[in-house]
């Protein structure tokens, strides 16, 4: 479980996040939704430790990320998987080496054990016979799938996805959504997805947090989403469905 308590962050005096509170449960796919520039990405960067919040606590199952020492932070980071908007695959490495990277870096597995794990992860995201291809030789959807395979290689406890559907056609988006949902349930991962895609939210959002102008305005389930009673959220949904 990840709990956010009064998270605030500002850049050059301009507040981007103001007292954001939210709870993301284990084995559930939680969505952070909101308009562009509303603070979703900054919130995610704070959660994964790329940015430090000005105040508040980000609690990973009882561990306050900001106050952990260097080595504890490192340990916690190895429990985090992240799927980036553009995939963020290492250009100089093949698909196989990309997925094998965290295993080579943090485990003492033998070459054959690493290869087995890589093939398992690639098969899990429905990619086969692409091991030797380079990121520049595969499509956007395949990059995202390789990104997911790399994220799950270390059996993460927490999975963060930054706009996983951006730039993808509806069919591929659906495949990616299903993969994220299956993996979350299968491995009991705490998954947090940043998204604009309201269809994905209704399809797979177990829990939704609506961020508006840096504040967490609403939190609930997808069934409560249509009757949230929140004007800004209703406007956002209407605009997204238009």
């Amino acid at each position: 479980m990840i709990a956010l308590k009064d998270i605030s962050k500002s850049f050059s005096g301009r507040p981007v996040l103001q007292n954001v509170n939210a709870t993301f449960n284990k084995g559930k796919c939680s969505f952070v939704i909101g308009a562009s520039g509303g603070g979703k990405s900054v919130l995610m960067k704070c959660m994964v430790g790329l940015l430090s919040q000005d105040s508040g606590v980000i609690d990973f199952d009882g561990r306050d990320f900001l106050n952990l020492d260097y080595y504890k932070k490192k340990e916690l980071r190895q429990e985090i998987g992240m799927l980036f908007q553009g995939g963020a695959l290492f250009d100089s490495l093949s698909v196989e080496d990309n997925v094998a990277f965290p295993l080579r870096m943090f485990t003492n597995f033998s070459k054959s054990e690493i290869l087995d794990r890589v093939n398992f992860c690639l098969k899990r995201v429905k990619l086969e016979n692409v091991n030797k291809l380079f990121p520049s030789n595969i499509s956007g959807g395949m990059k995202k799938r390789v990104g997911i395979a790399r994220s799950i290689a270390m059996n993460p406890k927490y999975l963060f996805c930054d706009e996983p559907n951006s730039g993808l056609d509806p069919l591929t988006s659906r495949v990616i959504d299903e993969l994220i949902m299956e993996i979350t349930e299968e491995y009991g991962i705490t998954t947090i997805v940043n998204s604009h895609d309201i269809k994905s939210v209704f399809d797979m959002g177990d829990h939704i947090v609506f961020i508006y102008q840096g504040k967490s305005l609403w939190e609930g389930t997808k069934d409560q989403l249509r009757n949230s009673g929140n004007k800004e959220l209703e406007l956002f949904i209407k605009a997204s469905e238009f």
């Binding site: 790329l50 340990e75 916690l76 985090i80 963020a88 695959l89 250009d91 080579r104 270390m154 963060f160």
Partner: protein
């Protein structure tokens, strides 16, 4: 004020770089790849430049000495010392700044803007150390090796120039090359080479690592890396010469 801020960031970047690598095996693999890339990519350009530096030095110094009472054997000695003390370490370093400096900055800059550095950080990898440390150590190995090679080739270039210009015979030139050799000059030259290598690799890595934005910023970081490296090389060239030779 801005310079101090940048310098502070540079020091913090170095502190992050010089941490124990997460996995030595991956560090050594990256190190050897970088040494090969730096050496192989710069070998031809360093060879050509060194030969011509030596050749031009012979003609320029030779024309100054002609008609004077100074014996022409001194030409070999002057060219040798100039090559060892200044031309080879400084010009090779400047060439390397342009060649590998821009390469390092653009490679790391591209990784930064395409979120590859963020991906490393999130995995728990010390990204600064992972991307920059093998390059820094590779430069510390490759640049002095190329400077040593350049010293040799510059003197060979001088001999070839003697052969074609008939200013002085090759035998006389070689006699001068072997005259009053001071081995401390090699120490001085290699000290400059190591310093330059450190400056090129760290300044370029730092500029790449600080890149934010897109392709335009990567280009700008690459240019900044080359300019700052060249200025730092010339500055430390002066400082080291002042300290070590006087």
């Amino acid at each position: 004020m801005k310079f101090l801020e940048q310098f502070g960031r540079y020091i913090l970047f170095l502190r992050a770089c010089f941490r124990k690598p997460d996995k030595w095996r991956m560090f050594w693999r990256a190190f050897f790849t970088e040494v090969y890339k730096m050496g192989n990519d710069s070998f031809l350009i360093v060879s050509i430049i060194s030969m011509f530096i030596g050749a031009v030095a012979v003609i320029q110094f030779g024309s100054q000495l002609q008609g004077s009472l100074v014996p022409m054997t001194i030409l070999g000695r002057i060219v040798r010392d100039a090559n060892i003390l200044e031309f080879s370490p400084t010009i090779t370093a400047l060439v390397m700044a342009g060649k590998i400096g821009s390469n390092i900055a653009s490679e790391i800059g591209t990784m930064k803007v395409s979120e590859q550095i963020d991906a490393l950080e999130i995995m728990g990898v010390n990204a600064a150390s992972y991307v920059a440390l093998p390059k820094i150590f590779a430069a510390l190995f490759a640049v002095p090796a190329l400077v040593t090679y350049s010293m040799f080739l510059a003197n060979v270039g001088g001999a070839i120039s003697c052969y074609f210009s008939e200013m002085v015979s090759v035998d006389t030139y070689v006699q001068g090359l072997r005259m009053d050799f001071n081995s401390f000059f090699i120490t001085h030259s290699l000290t400059k080479a190591v310093t330059s290598a450190f400056l090129i690799a760290t300044i370029s890595s730092y500029n790449g690592y600080q890149t934010e934005g897109g392709a335009l910023e990567v280009g700008s970081a690459s240019t900044k890396a080359v300019v700052q490296s060249c200025i730092a090389i010339i500055f430390f060239d002066y400082i080291l010469t002042q300290i070590m030779l006087y």
